[in-house]
């Protein structure tokens, strides 16, 4: 903090502003943020700059990248433009990733908050319920859900959300158990705050840092999960996604490396970006790494 005159108060800096200050100074975190920005920009602005339908057959099948000027990244086994697929497929993959993370956080935080705050019987019931979901093999369960119902993007996101919330619930629960015994919670109670006020307005804001980190990492995990399901041919065949591209191109891997490698590289960069941002946030929220 810069030197201030004696009578004045240092400018108020919220915990979030302070965390951003640390985050900004970490090269790897900023690299992750840049990667994500590029991917997001590409998927949102790409269709306007490169308006090719990813399902349209534009050239001979399995044309390698660089051979045709009009098709910079080549074509797949049906002669569809790979670059168009990468651009179009990004939005589906990201949408599933974010939606699944959102579902995970909603269920996980809700269950964890009540279990951790009330303890006792409520905790026992909610935690047994959580363990029931935790012992489900994630991939198998998601496959069952997707094959039983339509493999639409919504269902894929739901399936991923349902298998990954228990972890968030446990994390939230442990944070709530820790924070509910702190003095400022008793102080708020003594000032007349009710349970829901204490849960959502007092404890949750203080439990947020690890939850934000966990949410970020969940996005990365959900993207990988979506790719895995697509690879097995279990994602929506009518929506282009990176996973679908890998899935439909896997038989040609030995003849045409680019069909699988290019969407794979996009997934890699996106998940890397998300993980770096997650690590950066983790450091930014870690009080031991703060200088002051």
């Amino acid at each position: 903090m810069t030197a201030v005159t004696k009578t004045s108060v240092p400018a108020a800096r919220g915990p979030m502003v302070e965390a951003w200050g640390i985050f900004r100074r970490s090269p790897s975190a900023m690299l992750g943020l840049a990667l994500l920005a590029v991917v997001i920009l590409m998927t949102f602005a790409g269709p306007f700059l490169y308006g090719v339908d990813p399902f349209e057959i534009v050239w001979a099948p399995l044309t390698p990248p660089g051979q045709e000027a009009a098709i910079p990244l080549g074509t797949d086994n049906l002669g569809r433009d790979i670059l168009a697929g990468l651009i179009e497929g990004g939005s589906a993959t990201l949408a599933v990733g974010f939606a699944a993370a959102l579902i995970t956080m909603l269920i996980g935080v809700m269950v964890g908050a009540y279990a951790g705050f009330y303890g006792g019987v409520v905790d026992d019931v909610l935690m047994r319920f959580t363990e029931f979901f935790q012992v489900l093999p994630p991939l198998l369960f998601a496959m069952v859900v997707v094959t039983l119902f339509q493999p639409t993007l919504v269902n894929v996101a739901l399936a991923i959300g349902i298998v990954s919330w228990p972890q968030t619930a446990r994390l939230t629960r442990s944070e709530f158990r820790r924070i509910r015994t702190l003095e400022y919670v008793s102080a708020m109670r003594a000032i007349g705050a009710g349970d829901s006020n204490i849960i959502w307005r007092v404890i949750l804001p203080n439990a947020l840092p690890p939850l934000i980190v966990s949410a970020t990492l969940t996005i990365g995990m959900a993207i990988l999960f979506e790719a895995g399901l697509s690879f097995l041919g279990l994602s929506d065949p009518n929506v282009m996604s990176w996973g679908l591209m890998i899935g439909s191109g896997r038989e040609y891997l030995l003849d045409a490396w680019w069909v699988v490698t290019l969407p794979g590289a996009m997934i890699f960069l996106t998940v890397l970006g998300v993980s770096l941002v997650g690590d950066g946030l983790n450091d930014a929220f870690n009080p031991r790494l703060r200088e002051r």
Binding site: S8, V9, E183, Y184, A187, A190, I191, A193, P205
Partner: protein, 329 residues
């Protein structure tokens, strides 16, 4: 005589522990009149804080439970109130200041936001009005540049400042009763004096009654109207502050007063202390809880719980060695 703000009668609180039932509070009775300051003194673990928590209905249940007695606040028995009614009283009519100003404020909100939140919990006012009230309260507790401090986060303030913020928060809804649980334990001596004089000043300005839980006999002598001395969950002596401090009746009270360092005492002499420790509340015998440590103990002390003996008007102590109207030599 005016009706007391707080009238506690025969309050009993039990805790279920692994080693049996602990009578954390046993037969505690006292009254506080409007504008009056009652000091509760005693060693750690003697039930002072539990008395405060009982008044606010914050005894952790389980393992604790109010098993008997009544807590009359302006004529209503708090022990019988429904949760939602109790919530309106907490912070509204009765406020509490905690021991640790360093940890009693929520670190992610500014001081102004927290005071405003307390106001909005009890009064239907706009966010702007609540903020204005917060600034006004910060000024009332003597914080310089309250408009700026309202935007400061707790970690940007010193301990004394934070305790002032806590007091501002506690008084923001003009409570009839303020419970201060060792409000200065964590503070520097000079700041302690400031906080005490602030409390005293606010009490005279607003007419709020105060229950002050403290170890600081100096503060008791200076500010308190009445004193209650607690030992092992019971009030063993209570009365007007002057009477209790000048002519303590119970051997424990005398021990407490004797163990205060004095400026004019012989610097080479050892400070008197009370031998032994507070007994575990789970295995109290039938007799006087202080008997094992008491210099005046006789066989009869084992037999039964001593009753309060009146020493003068409103001044009584629970010791069988006392006779009515007498002060032991």
């Amino acid at each position: 005589m005016t009706q007391p703000v707080l009238d506690i009668r025969n309050l009993k609180v039990d805790f279920m522990t692994r080693r049996g039932v602990a009578h954390v509070l046993d037969d505690v009775s006292f009254t506080v009149a409007p504008g009056e300051l009652l000091a509760i003194v005693g060693e750690s673990g003697c039930g002072k804080s539990m008395t405060a928590l009982s008044v606010l209905g914050l005894v952790p249940t389980p393992p604790g439970k109010v098993v008997g007695g009544s807590i009359l606040f302006q004529g209503r028995d708090l022990a019988q109130l429904r949760r939602s009614d109790m919530r309106k009283i907490r912070g509204g009519d009765i406020a509490m200041i905690f021991q640790e100003p360093m940890t009693s404020l929520n670190p992610v909100f500014t001081c102004g936001e927290q005071i405003a939140e307390a106001v909005r919990l009890h009064q239907n006012v706009s966010p702007g009005a609540a903020h204005a009230r917060a600034v006004e309260m910060l000024r009332a507790v003597g914080i310089p540049e309250p408009e700026l401090r309202a935007n400061a986060y707790p970690h940007q303030l010193s301990g004394g400042m934070r305790q002032r913020v806590m007091i501002a928060m506690a008084l923001s809804c003009q409570p009839r009763l303020l419970i201060a649980d060792e409000p200065t334990t964590a503070l520097d001596v000079t700041v302690q004096a400031q906080i005490f004089s602030l409390l005293d000043e606010l009490r005279h300005k607003t007419g709020t009654a105060i229950v002050l839980i403290t170890h600081d006999m100096g503060a008791v002598a200076e500010m308190a109207d009445k004193v209650a001395v607690m030992y092992a969950g019971r009030i063993i002596e209570q009365g007007p502050a002057d009477a209790v401090l000048d002519s303590p009746g119970h051997p424990y009270t005398r021990g407490l007063l004797a163990s205060i360092p004095r400026v004019y005492a012989d610097p080479d002499a050892d400070l008197p202390e009370i031998p032994g420790i507070v007994p575990a509340l789970t295995d109290l015998g039938r007799g006087c809880a202080f008997e094992p440590r008491c210099p005046l103990a006789i066989n009869a002390c084992h037999a039964a719980q001593p009753r309060h003996v009146a020493m003068s008007a409103n001044h009584s102590a629970a010791c069988i060695r006392l006779k009515t109207g007498e002060v032991l030599a």
